[in-house]
Amino acid sequence: MEEVKGFSVVPVELAQSQWNKKARHYMFIKKHQSNAMKEMAERSLFIVNPPFACTLSTIRQFFKSIASNSLVENLFINDEDLDYDINLTRLTSDLYDDDKDGQGSLVRLPNGTAIVVFVDKSACSLAMSKLKKYCKGDELYSWRVCGDETATSIRMAKAYRDRVLSPEETSAEVSLSLQEFEKREAKSIEELGEMKTLVDEDGFTMVVGKNRKTKRGILGKMSGTSKVKEIEDKKLKRKEKADFYRFQIREKKKLEMNELLKKFRDDQERIKELKEKKRFRPY
């Protein structure tokens, strides 16, 4: 099969080992179409299902082998189910204007897809046509997941090592981003200040408040809130005498009785339910 829904089906071969047979991995590739960042989009290919742990270097090797003249410039990949809509910095700050540049300049990809950016438009077209040719041929490219990288055990140790940050670089980075933040903040405060001084037609000025939210929505009802309620209720009760008039007493008793009866009926219902579940079999 060569095409699925406008995507070229591009198989690559995965070498056998002592535990498994040869296998084929299928990429689904077509020319990238996007209105955002048009220039870049025009020299990119869109890949659905890139091979496992695909990196710039492995994809470069692949295109080098089938279209040696098409130089790959960059690779954008989403293979860890990243959600681009979740940006904690933006969500927690009001220093960004949402309407300005949408959600930043990042490429937004669905999970399990990638974009290969070539140096220019022609390189891209060439790569695509070579790909089609490659698909018709019999020779399959043998994909190596880890490329030329070293043994896994060493790679993993390196991954641990990579988590350690160099103090100098970190310190530089921190001060840079804090400067940026301060700049943004200063600008925003300035704007805010302007707003505050602005008196509208009715003679009001704008009041700017912070938006806060309680935990309640997520964590269900906390006892803290019910406690507050209790205290309030108690205060109210203290103010008026509840058993002064005869009707009050009667009312209270009636309420109690109804409550009792309601509970009783609920209990009967529950027992019925439990009985149906055969809970009353002691052995």
Partner: protein, 1170 residues
């Protein structure tokens, strides 16, 4: 419909007051109801027969359209509702009791069936011919060629000159619970007792002496059996099977058991399907012997002619003889009580279920306190029971009140050492509690002179009281519905009941200490040796035990062709121990001081006893023990004592040794000599933390550090491996600390900027630490803790003592910002952001609180820490641990400790662990939340109001609010697809903080594995093999398994390999390795990478610690079922597929395997897939 208590029968003030009150209230309320709805038509109907069978009054409010009050209020309903709330614990409790009693009631058709046979049996017994005045020789010759043997007890009669005979029974009647109609269905089937009373003319006045009456009775029984056998054959009742049976395990009381087999099921007399069995008891006429001569302190077996020596009392023998005269008598007594107290029958049934679920029964083996004793005690308490004879129970009490009254009496009044209860079974004379006990449990009937508790030993009495105490606590619990542990759950599993059991073999034949005097007082060797061991235990380790049970594997049933059951040479004895956790591992036993008489102490302990001076200057006779990592101190003592007092070369076998041995041993000096309770390793870490804390708090920073709070398993004594210096390969090497600064308003109001400022602080701390201290430290990126927060950094510190700490900073802004993110998010992303917030909350806030609470609990319940570690080991061996947060595991493991309900708090690793497994196996998390009260005092018995007000005990309101959180959760997610385990405590009322994000198949697997484990234990016990099996993963359930290279990380994880030839510390790592990253487990990183790239497609599992002896590890994979079907291709498909036809694609497993194998590269040494 419920029958209400009759007011006229109530003679106590408190009760009548209650009812009176409720009645006036009631009338007033109903009246007011009527007044208000004056527009409504009113109708009193006194003979409404719709649902009114009691003939009480009923008031109806007709519901008319437009009326304000739409609810019809039936007076009777109100009355019931009121009453049940008062007379019973609560409405629901009463309703549950009703249902339960309905459920266990004997089915009418079965009763009819057995009654039919009983009638027939009665007629057949009448046919047995007389046989009189025969000598022993004539008897022997009569039986010579017959299939039946007379079940004479030891010693068999020889050369006796009295006569044997059979005469028409004086009386044949049904006795016992079937006669009293308190019989219920039971899993083991029910025995119907038929009492055949021997005619009085067969006896002489002195026949109670020297087994004479018993031998006459044995002959009577044997003769009856042989004749019945022939008659049954003649009547073609071929389905009948006859056997002898020692009633209640008493070898003096053989009875004939009649069972129906499944042959000839068509016979209308065959009662096989009813599961009933019939016991033919042979009794003596009431009052035939002078009961004063048979008092428990009298001797009735004269073994010696020499009158000089005083013979020991024969209480067991005396009670047996007396009991045989009273079968009918007690039925009458209980029947009379039943007539007087309306709910007596129900109370007896409740008591019976309660006993049954706890494995308590009338036979000696089951503790000697069964439903007969329960009923008799209830009856006695209805006639008094106080010191002045004041009534403990009243005839008008509800079944619940009666039951609770009896339980309370058992729990609070000592009937053994402090006093005893005496009552009259023939008159309404009051029962009295009389001070001064006989040192044996006593419920004395003045009429018959029987101690009804004669089968209850002191040790089984202790256990009974313990059961009653636990039950009383449950009955008093107002927060949770305790019906299930009270009546519905079987709590008779040895491995749950006892902290551990000890098994041993003795050979009766070789024991010379069982002389003639021992024989007549104890009757059997089993009784003798049990008593002997019990006495040794009580004197030697009594303070360390809550109770114990000694049982022998002797059968009570034997063929009618045999005189007595055949026993093997060796006697196998099991001792079940309930340990007092506070006392268990103490090393010193103090005896009398230098000046006091110490003969008994010294002769008991032998060479182990020595005179010692203690710190406080006293000089005391004492015994010193030492701890061991496998054998608990109690076991060590027990072994010494049994070898000294029972048999020198005795071998003790106990599962506790195996279970203790399963815990990984820390690579520390003399760790083989440490008790399982030792906290040495944790203390080392704690000290290192304290030291670091002192330094951090003094640092000069732009903002002062306010707190450095621990938040790691190691710092709450629950880490899977005990912390060992320089053990960098352990996954718990780095201990999280949450640092908070003094309050400031200057924190940036944006998450990434905030994280940057935190990083700046960490940089500063690092700078100072490396300049001024011996601490090594470095900054690390942390992109796992909170997803989508890519700016978190931590400061990882290596202390000179060899421990690792990881500092993260919490500010007062963090939570606000995460919550704001939720607020600002679009609707679709809300859930994802809420989950992010929970993740943050876990690490920064929840974990700190959790650590604080758990470390205090670990101190309170000493066995909690080793139990959690073993539970974690089990989960890890079963490849599950990596999927759960450590905190969730710790909370679940807490269940048996904070809520032991009908048991004691676990006091051994095996018991704690098995109780956790049992709990999970029976936890229906779809319908039940786990709500725990962490504040309880270990006893949970102090119910005085002030204490409960001051303590932070879980209140009804708090419980209800957590319960309603659960209800809300299940309304949204009834099948538990998203959140399975709802675990709420006061510090996390949401119940989901630690349990969200677990894949459903994993949660289901935990339940399934626990079920399998429990089944395995039920079936094959806790032997070597099944224990090993318990900790072996079944790899066949996974879609594929990767076998990985041997990586020797055990020693660098701080574990002493048990196979190692070194008995002690392996001096390998006394400093940090040059490159710490080489000592980290590469598999953990590999699995992390694989999981993140294949999330939603494959669930990977692995052992979180590579510490097996050979350093092997595996990774298993499970495909997510929803991704297995063929589907249409689309760009958002999100997982590895191959084209099938047209637009259809399907998952490409071969490619996934190939890629995983290539990615895992040189770590793989084997691969298997389905």
């Amino acid at each position: 419909m419920v029958k209400r208590t009759r007011e006229d029968s109530i003679d106590a003030e408190r009760d009548s007051k209650k009812t009176a009150l409720s009645k006036t209230d009631l009338i007033e309320t109903i009246a007011s109801n009527l007044e208000e709805g004056s527009s409504m038509s009113e109708e009193y109907s006194s003979d409404d027969d719709e649902d009114d069978q009691q003939g009480g009054k009923e008031v109806h409010n007709a519901n008319q359209a437009g009326s304000k009050n739409t609810k019809s209020l039936s007076a009777q309903e109100v009355q019931i509702a009121r009453e049940t709330a008062e007379l019973f614990k609560s409405n629901i409790f009463k309703l549950q009791i009703d249902e339960l009693i309905k459920e266990v009631r004997l089915k009418d058709n079965k009763v009819a069936k057995i009654e039919k046979f009983l009638h027939k049996l009665y007629d057949l017994i009448q046919e047995v011919p007389e046989f009189k005045e025969k000598s022993i020789d004539q008897v022997e010759s009569w039986f010579r060629d017959r299939k039946t043997t007379v079940p004479f007890n030891d010693p068999k009669p020889t050369n006796v000159n009295y006569k044997f005979g059979y005469g028409k029974p004086e009386n044949v009647s049904i006795v016992g619970s079937f006669g009293l109609k308190t019989a219920i269905q039971s899993p083991r089937g029910l025995s119907v007792d038929v009492n055949v009373t021997m005619p009085a003319d067969l006896f002489q006045q002195k026949d109670y002496l020297n087994y004479r009456a018993l031998h006459k009775r044995a002959f009577y029984l044997g003769y009856l059996t042989e004749n019945l056998r022939k008659i049954f054959k003649r009547e073609n009742l071929n389905f009948i099977k006859l056997s002898y049976h020692y009633l209640h395990g008493d070898s003096l009381t053989p009875v004939l058991k009649i069972r129906a087999t499944d042959d000839d099921l068509n016979s209308e007399l065959n009662f096989n399907k009813t599961k009933f069995a019939i016991n033919i008891l042979v009794g003596f006429p009431f009052g035939i012997f002078d009961s004063k001569k048979l008092l428990p302190n009298k001797n009735c077996i004269r073994v010696q002619k020499d009158e000089e020596i005083e013979l020991p009392a024969t209480p067991l023998y005396n009670s047996s003889i007396l009991s045989m005269t009273t079968y009918d008598h007690y039925l009458k007594f209980l029947y009379k009580t039943k007539k007087n107290a309306e709910q007596f029958k129900e109370a007896c049934i409740l008591g019976r279920i309660w006993l049954l679920q706890r494995g308590l029964g009338t036979s000696i083996e089951d503790g000697g306190f069964g439903h007969f004793e329960f009923a008799a005690l209830t009856a006695a308490l209805l006639n008094g029971g106080g010191e002045q004879g004041n009534k403990i129970l009243l005839n008008g009490f509800s079944s619940y009140q009666l039951f609770k009254g009896v339980i309370k009496y058992l729990a609070t009044e000592n009937l053994s050492t402090d006093g005893y209860l005496q009552f009259h079974s023939d008159s309404a004379d009051v029962s009295k509690y009389i001070k001064g006990g006989f040192n044996t449990p006593t419920l004395f009937d003045k009429t018959t002179k029987i101690n009804l508790l004669h089968r209850v030993t002191r040790s089984s009495y202790d256990l009974l009281v313990n059961h009653a105490k636990k039950t009383l606590v449950l009955l008093n619990d107002v927060v949770k519905d305790r019906f299930e542990p009270l009546f519905l759950k079987n709590s008779n599993q040895e491995y749950l009941k006892f902290d551990y059991t000890v098994e041993l073999n003795v050979s009766p034949a070789e024991d010379d200490s069982f002389g003639p005097f021992e024989k007549i007082t104890n009757l059997t060797y089993e009784n003798y040796i049990s008593l002997k061991i019990a006495n040794v235990l009580r004197y030697g380790v009594g303070e360390r035990l809550v109770g114990f049970k000694i049982s022998c594997d002797r059968v009570n049933e034997f063929e009618i062709s045999k005189r007595k059951p055949h026993y093997s040479q060796d006697l196998h004895i099991r001792i079940g121990l309930v340990i007092d956790p506070q006392e268990a591992e103490k090393l010193v036993i103090k005896g009398p001081s230098e000046t006091e008489d110490s003969v008994q102490f010294r002769s008991f302990w032998g060479p182990k006893s020595s005179l010692r001076r203690f710190k406080d200057g006293t000089i005391v006779h004492s015994v010193i023990w030492s701890t061991d990592f496998k054998s608990p101190v109690v076991l060590t003592i027990l072994k010494y004592l049994l070898q000294r007092h029972v048999k020198e070369n005795i071998v003790l076998e106990s599962e506790i040794v195996r279970f203790n041995g399963l815990l990984p041993m820390p690579n520390l000096p003399s760790s083989t000599k440490q008790s399982t309770l030792s906290t040495v390793a944790f203390n080392g870490l704690r000290n290192s933390y304290d030291e670091l804390y002192r330094i951090l708090i003094k640092l000069e920073l732009p903002l002062a550090i306010k707190s450095v709070l621990p938040a790691s398993p190691g710092l709450r004594m629950t880490s899977q491996l005990q912390p060992v210096p320089f053990a960098v390969s352990s996954k718990d090497f780095y201990n999280d600390l949450v640092v908070q600064f003094e309050t400031s308003v200057k924190w940036p109001d944006e998450l990434s900027a905030l994280e940057k400022v935190k990083t700046a602080f960490l940089l500063k701390i690092q700078e100072i630490l490396s300049k001024e201290t011996a601490y090594e430290s470095h900054l690390e990126k942390d992109d796992e803790t909170v997803p989508y927060n890519f700016d978190i950094t931590t400061l990882n510190i290596l202390t000179p003592e060899g421990y690792g700490f990881r500092i993260r900073i919490l500010t007062e802004r963090d939570e606000v910002l995460y919550l704001r993110a939720i607020e600002n998010s679009s609707k679709e992303k809300r859930q994802a952001l809420e989950s992010i917030y929970l993740k943050f909350n876990r690490r920064y806030q929840g974990s700190v609180t959790h650590t604080r609470i758990i470390s205090s609990i670990a101190h309170r319940f000493q066995y909690y820490s080793p139990t959690v570690r073993l539970f974690k080991k089990w989960l890890d061996d079963q490849l599950l641990l990596s999927h759960f947060s450590e905190e969730l595991i710790e909370l679940i493991a807490l269940q048996p400790f904070v809520d032991p309900s009908q048991y004691n708090v676990p006091a051994s690793v095996s018991n704690g662990f098995l109780r956790i497994l049992f709990f999970i196996a029976h936890w229906n998390w779809k319908e039940e939340p786990l709500i725990m009260d962490m504040s309880k005092t270990p006893d949970g018995e102090d119910d005085s109001e002030i204490v409960s007000k001051l303590s932070d005990k879980l209140s009804v309101q708090a419980y209800q609010s957590m319960k309603s959180n659960f209800d809300v959760l299940r309304k949204q997610d009834p099948q538990g697809m998203k959140i399975q385990f709802f675990v709420a405590t006061k510090s996390d009322e949401s119940g989901i903080l630690w349990s969200h994000g677990i894949p459903l198949p994993i949660a289901a697997r935990l339940t399934a594995l626990s079920k399998v484990a429990v089944q395995l234990i039920n079936k094959s016990g806790l032997g070597e093999k099944s224990t090993r099996l318990l900790f072996t993963p079944s790899l066949g359930d996974y879609d594929f398994v990767l076998k990985l290279k041997t990586i020797p990380l055990a020693i660098s994880s701080g574990v002493l390999p048990s196979s190692s030839s070194f008995k002690n510390l392996i001096v390998d790592a006394q400093s940090y390795p040059k490159d710490i990253a080489t000592k980290f487990d590469p598999i953990a990183m590999l699995v992390k990478n694989l999981s993140s790239k294949l999330q939603g497609v494959v669930i990977f599992s692995t052992h979180t610690q590579t510490i097996s002896e050979s350093g092997e590890n595996i990774i298993t994979g499970l495909f997510v079922p929803s991704k297995m079907t063929q589907t249409k291709f689309k760009a958002q498909i999100g997982y590895n597929v191959k084209p099938v036809q047209k637009d259809d694609v399907v998952i490409n497993k071969d490619a996934i395997f190939a890629e995983i194998l290539q990615y895992a590269g040189d770590l793989v040494v084997g691969f298997e897939s389905k």
